[in-house]
Amino acid sequence: MLKIWSMKQQQAQAENAESAAGNKKKKVTAAQLRVQRDLQELTLGNTMKMSFPNPDDILNFTLSIEPDEGMYKGGVFNFNFTVNQNFPHDPPKVKCTQKIYHPNIDLDGNVCLNILREDWKPVLNLNAVIVGMQFLFLEPNASDPLNKEAADDLRNNREAFKRNVRSSMAGGAVRGETFERVLR
């Protein structure tokens, strides 16, 4: 098949990139490399913490958000991040580990955030995602709901919605649904 391989060998010699004899070593994947870079460029501030169950696996981690203002102030919200090997072509998968009352997060923990779905672009980074997550707690959004009841409450009666948020965060029930206690 032509001289493609001899071209490759010439290039290798020129760059001194020839391989040591022996077994093929695993390469750092593009996803790992990108996450390594993204992590370095995060701005967590005082309201966010990350933890890594396995520090050697940077593709799976937990983010805790503790809003210091807004309706969800005083709570601690935990999210599992799963980054696949196709990152950054695919967005990270984000799931809330607690059952919470929020118009954009359903009772199973699925999160509705535009940049995690239709608006994801490979130029976006993990920082954009965590800023977006933080924003969900400052400005819950009723126009694109995952928890329709919570969204209706927010739209129809903001004060009642706030009361529901407080009682759900304390582990109370809203409309017959019991929520997890998430207060610090």
Partner: protein, 421 residues
Amino acid sequence: MHHSTASQHDRWKHLYKVMSKPGPHCDEDWTPGSAIIDMLESTKVLGAGGLGCEILKNLALSGFKDIHVIDMDTIDISNLNRQFLFRQSDIGKPKAEVAAAFVEKRVKGVRITPFVGKIQDKDEDFYMQFKIIICGLDSIEARRWINATLIGMVDPENQESLKPLVDGGTEGFKGQARVILPTLTSCIECQLDMHAPRPAVPLCTIATIPRQPQHCIEWAHQIAWQDKRKDDPFDSDNMEHISWVYHAALERAQHFHIAGVTFQMTQGVVKNIIPAIASTNAVIAASTTSEVLKIATGCNPYLNNYMMYAGEEGVYTYTFEAEKKSDCPVCGNLARKMDIDPDMTLGEFIESLGERAEAQLKKPSMRTEEKTLYQRFPPQLEEHTRPNLRLKLRDLVEDGEEIAVSDPAYTIDFRYRLVFK
């Protein structure tokens, strides 16, 4: 019997001519003859994506006998005008399977193996079995994926790991064909800047003085709908919605004396569809498959490395060599060999990186495929990896293992293969 052999020979007569005589452009070392034809027939090629019908037909008629095809789509009625391997009764069936069966039946002796699914569902082991990959994919994402995968597969130890990628794409009357030799030539990622995003018409043009029928449709879609039917989310699959937009656009066009708003155009604009043109697909598929033939047999020089085609007004092609981008995140990022003293600690090694002329990395984070060696941020990882700084390199990495280094001062990352002194 004799008759069928003769007609078989007739079918390949022109191909045999090219393969059995040297031409003015073929390489000096190239020996024409039956060995080349045998090689062609045994070359395993993979075709992926939307230009499938054309590519499959061309490969089969170029003498390839072991063709694999991967496509996730099913046949839609709107495909039938140009995807000539499909019939009305095939609607709803997977394209790969129907196309494979059709071509196998029509071209005797060809074996076509279909896979119904996304190219991303397959792993390196799958792609490793082919000699050449030919793609007519319909998205930039899929192109980037196959590009990065093929580049990642290149192993300097194994020449079989370098798979030429021939990529074709069309949009309306325009198209392109390119040949990529992973890690050797400019790759799809290097060339991404060339795909300028479709220019958006400024909202002010749409809102004030439309000049084209499309502007009127955009106005009806974006402005009139918001005005009149705010609470009714627009659905581009709802015929009543399209029809409403069409009539609103038509009215506006008449007001501004603009002709040309049609229902079909309305549908195209709001769904952001650029019509696929059968002749463009045929031209691009022909170009890409002849590149595959040339690469596989060596009978003629192959495209170096980009051919653009414009068929809107007349027929125009231009060929040029796209250059490799040295800071390409995919192919500009191959591991460099670095000789190190394995008894050095990781901390000393990081300090030495700061002194190297080409790197001067001041705040690097680094890892191997398996291990996070040192990560400066976030704090929990930093604490966890800090003890590694005192460990010797021989306890952290294997001889010849690759590490990847990022530093906030640089937009690119570095890969080194650490070889013990």
